[in-house]
């Protein structure tokens, strides 16, 4: 069982994590951060395997993965 944490103020809503996640764990949320970006959120955390692909692709270190 794994967990992905989103640091919302770092996220720029680029979607690279969403595109790479093999398990469709992530999606664009409906809340904008200070900078006005609608940041990602997890839809169903239970699906996360902790493979960290999203973190590897995230250009802004907005994701932290734990296992």
């Amino acid at each position: 069982m794994a967990k992905v944490t989103v640091f919302h103020e770092y996220c720029k809503s680029c979607g690279l994590c969403i595109a790479i996640c093999p398990n469709k764990v992530l999606e664009i949320g409906d809340k904008a951060n200070q900078k006005g970006y609608y940041t990602v959120r997890t839809n169903d955390e239970s699906k996360c395997t902790g493979c960290s692909l999203c973190g590897i692709m995230c250009p802004d270190l907005a994701l932290e993965i734990s296992k």
């Binding site: 720029k12 904008a32 006005g36």
Partner: protein, 179 residues
């Protein structure tokens, strides 16, 4: 007579574009105009803003310390620019994404759900034109006729249907203007 206009929002929201439309409208009605973008490294994915001056006399100093009217399309811009409107001035706010706390009472704040309206028109990125419409009646030297000419010269030639859409958005906006 002179109109000093401030325009601000996100890159991509078409702020520079409405500035250009207004400047053109002024020019086509034989006023003096000048369009001043802000530029710089902040550009990188940041907010975009520009100012437009329309005047019936030669425009010497193009430096705007305070503006007569303005349009803000997003929250950061709202907070940054509300202070720069002259007392008695007008500020059009895209209320779809800006929560405009009534922080000033000495200016008229026009709240327009521009994004919704634009979506209804079928083109989300027309919010800017809607706001432009809402501001029109507060301007001295341009009106919906000159704006029509301007939109036609800038957009029209290339794509007439897009031109219609833009003008439709403007007219929607006009419904919100202070009369």
């Amino acid at each position: 007579m002179i109109d000093k206009i401030l325009l601000a929002g996100f890159g991509g929201q078409g702020v520079m574009f409405i500035g250009k439309v207004m400047a053109y409208a002024g020019m086509l009605s034989d006023s003096q105009v000048c369009w001043i973008p802000s530029y710089g490294p902040e550009m990188r994915g940041g907010t975009a803003n520009c100012s437009v001056i329309i005047s019936d006399e030669e425009i010497n100093s193009p430096v705007i310390d305070t503006a007569d009217v303005g349009i803000v399309l997003n929250q950061p811009s709202y907070e940054k620019f509300i202070t720069l409107i002259k007392p008695g001035g007008v500020l059009v706010v895209n209320s779809s994404i800006v929560e405009a706390a009534a922080s000033r009472t000495d200016i008229t704040i026009i709240r327009v759900p521009a994004s919704e309206i634009a979506n209804d028109l079928g083109k989300a990125n027309l919010a800017n034109m809607v706001c432009l419409g809402a501001l029109l009646s507060s301007l001295n030297l341009i009106n919906n006729i000159s704006i029509k000419k301007a939109v036609e010269t800038i957009v029209g030639s290339k794509k007439p249907e897009l031109c219609q859409l833009n003008l439709a958005a403007v007219n929607k906006g006009i419904e919100y203007s202070v009369c």
